[in-house]
Symmetry: C2
Subunit: 403 residues, 2 copies
């Protein structure tokens, strides 16, 4: 897929510039500056990893003290595990951008992705920042998408013009991250912009909810990154009434669109990645709580036994059953739950379904997109997570990175 | 290693018989009966998996209602996920043994390991039980060890005569299970016998504590089996005073020996297994509780990122750091913790240790036995878990099993 051919709608008031600052050894685009028109509002979510990288710590601090006017993103170096020098470097990067733009340093949010434990090459950033800013444009999305990629094989973009309560609103977003955990910690970054007119509280609520149902519902191997972040900027340029209540019809319509955009961007991450041969939806229904549904879904999604069976297209229902059994939810009654592979019932009454045939299970497993449905039959909650299989290439990619 | 050449001390009052009942396709020994002299006491621990197999459910029930006189163990079929028929078959097996021995059915504990979801071949068991019992002997340990193996490459046995407060006590045990999770659910079984004179409460306490520090401290990929079980039988035949208090010197000496036996048997499981190329000890020190130490240790032990790096002998300290960071313990201060690979400090002050060199890290990773030490520096608790790496063969074994 040629990124340059993707049609990404410009978002009024959101400018992007990029350059190859030679942080990446390949010489590919690796530095992106996004400028937000005055009056723009930005919401963000960050990794929960206690070892978060310096730019994450700084971005959180800046976001809490000012409305951002710029985002600076570099790939090729995560500025993680870099101690005090890492923080000084992140601050310096923001200062250089602020100086160029004429804004305050805390109006710049920094993001980094790439190898960890190495200091940012500050000389390259010093030269790169004005170079990237020299080509700022509302049409800079395609180059920016290249600039945030690390080991991604496929660019991840969504762009659409939607109708929000009778008004036309543009939403464009990009994300990066590979289905498989990569040596750069598989950082997932997402940057979404819209021209919608919406206040800060509604915007943050919308992003938090959407990320919770999208980026927080994909899992490859349970490892989270030191650098994960997702932002949603609203430039307020659209011709529409302000969305200022989460109960309004306009908010609900907008939230639905943002949720879909985030889900699309998140699922693209699962579908990418060397070694990923399956796209697996794990649906848990009938749980007593959202929490227990997620607990069961993650136990299945992260089971190496289940994942290698998926790679082999092996309808090994016993592995799914055992993963559900060890998920640790209270008083699980294995005799009332049912498990389906696609629409084939594989487990009921505490064992293999009487109607199950190996042929029917095999037919489902031969597909690329596979759904595992687990009906707990004890409550009204349900949850879905998306994951992938575990292949030779997973081991290869992660074992051979530095050799 | 030829099992027949292993010296396993007989335990007075503990008899073993075995035969090839043709449950295993290979025709290898697959049925073992252990007879316990009258007056013997047995303690046991079982899998926590909610989907436990019929024999586990039945063994628990029998153990709670009578002192066992016999154990029946078959390999080649786990009798798991077999619903009501599975339970009827487990009961029938016990009945046959009880009839041969002249004891009550609830004095027989059943154990199964092998493929799941298939009913026990009862005709073969019916023929096999008397055949196995025809050669009962205190010297039957070696053949019994063969009989409980499934995909194990190496027999796992420990046998010793120890001094307990001036009295000679014999302890002999066998275990099965492979370092890598196998299609038969990697069932771990352990059967240990001693002639020690000890009451039931002390015996159970001793087993629970020892399993907690041995079998419960090894992990390959977080998947637990439907059939895991470990028993400790004391035939009371030794010439010694009764151990009837956990505060006695004799109990402490005995518990120390049992703990070592269980640890040896558990570590053999980690060292076995196609694909396991490393034996990794993960030590977490300075935690606020045992629980948080284990939480950190398991996050590192189960991280596919860390495990593939171990396979590659790659001193990728960033992956260990990130796994600690996502372990989810409260208020983790990443700036005060230290992480060592062997005796090489790799992380301090929130980043790579200043003294760290790639060469020093590489030297540690090149070894087969590797220790990862994580000092949380916030409390007085510590814990150790043992694990292995994640290799091509792990995927191969688990992907190709049924093809």
């Amino acid at each position: 897929m040629n990124i340059d051919n993707l049609v990404l709608h410009p978002v009024a008031g959101f400018y992007l510039g990029a350059c190859a600052a030679k942080i990446k050894k390949s010489g590919a685009t690796d530095l992106v500056i996004m400028e937000l028109a005055e009056g723009s509002l930005t919401a963000a979510t960050f990794t929960q990893n206690a070892f978060c990288a310096a730019p994450v710590t700084l971005a959180k601090a800046h976001l809490s003290s000012a409305a951002p006017r710029a985002l600076i993103i570099n790939s090729g170096n995560a500025n993680a595990g870099t101690g005090e020098q890492g923080m000084l470097d992140a601050v310096q990067s923001c200062e250089w951008v602020a100086k160029e733009l004429g804004c305050e340093v805390n109006q710049v949010l920094p993001f980094s992705t790439g190898v960890i434990g190495e200091n940012l090459p500050m000389e390259k950033l010093h030269v790169g920042i004005p170079a990237a800013m020299a080509n700022m444009s509302v049409s800079g999305w395609n180059e920016a998408c290249k600039g945030i990629m690390t080991t991604d094989l496929v660019p991840k973009t969504v762009s659409k013009v939607v109708d929000i309560d009778g008004h036309s609103v543009t939403i464009t977003g990009i994300s990066k991250g590979s289905g498989m955990i990569h040596p750069n910690m598989a950082t997932m970054l997402g940057f979404v912009a819209t021209d919608a007119k919406i206040n800060q509280a509604c915007l943050q609520q919308c992003l938090t909810d959407a990320v919770n149902l999208s980026f927080n519902r994909i899992t490859v191997d349970g490892d989270t990154s030191t650098n994960d972040a997702c932002t949603l900027t609203a430039t307020q340029k659209a011709d529409m009434p302000l969305i200022d209540s989460v109960d309004s019809a306009a908010y609900k319509a907008f939230a639905k669109e943002i949720n879909q955009v985030m889900t699309d961007l998140a699922q693209m991450i699962i579908r990418d990645g060397e070694g990923a041969t399956k796209f697996v939806s794990i649906i848990v229904e009938g749980g007593n709580s959202q929490q227990e549904c997620l607990q069961v879904a993650h136990a299945v999604a992260l089971s190496p036994l289940v994942k290698t069976a998926l790679f082999a297209s092996d309808p090994n229902w016993g592995r799914i059953l055992a993963a559900v059994g060890r998920s640790g939810i209270d008083e699980l009654d294995v005799n009332i739950l049912k498990i389906y592979l696609g629409d084939v019932c594989i487990v009921e009454n505490g064992g293999r379904a009487l109607t199950y045939t190996e042929e029917a299970g095999q037919a489902v497993m031969n597909e690329t997109d596979i759904t595992i449905l687990i009906q707990l039959n004890r409550g009204a909650h349900s949850e879905t997570v998306w994951t992938t299989d575990f292949s030779y290439d997973y081991v290869k990619i992660n074992a051979e990175y530095r050799s």
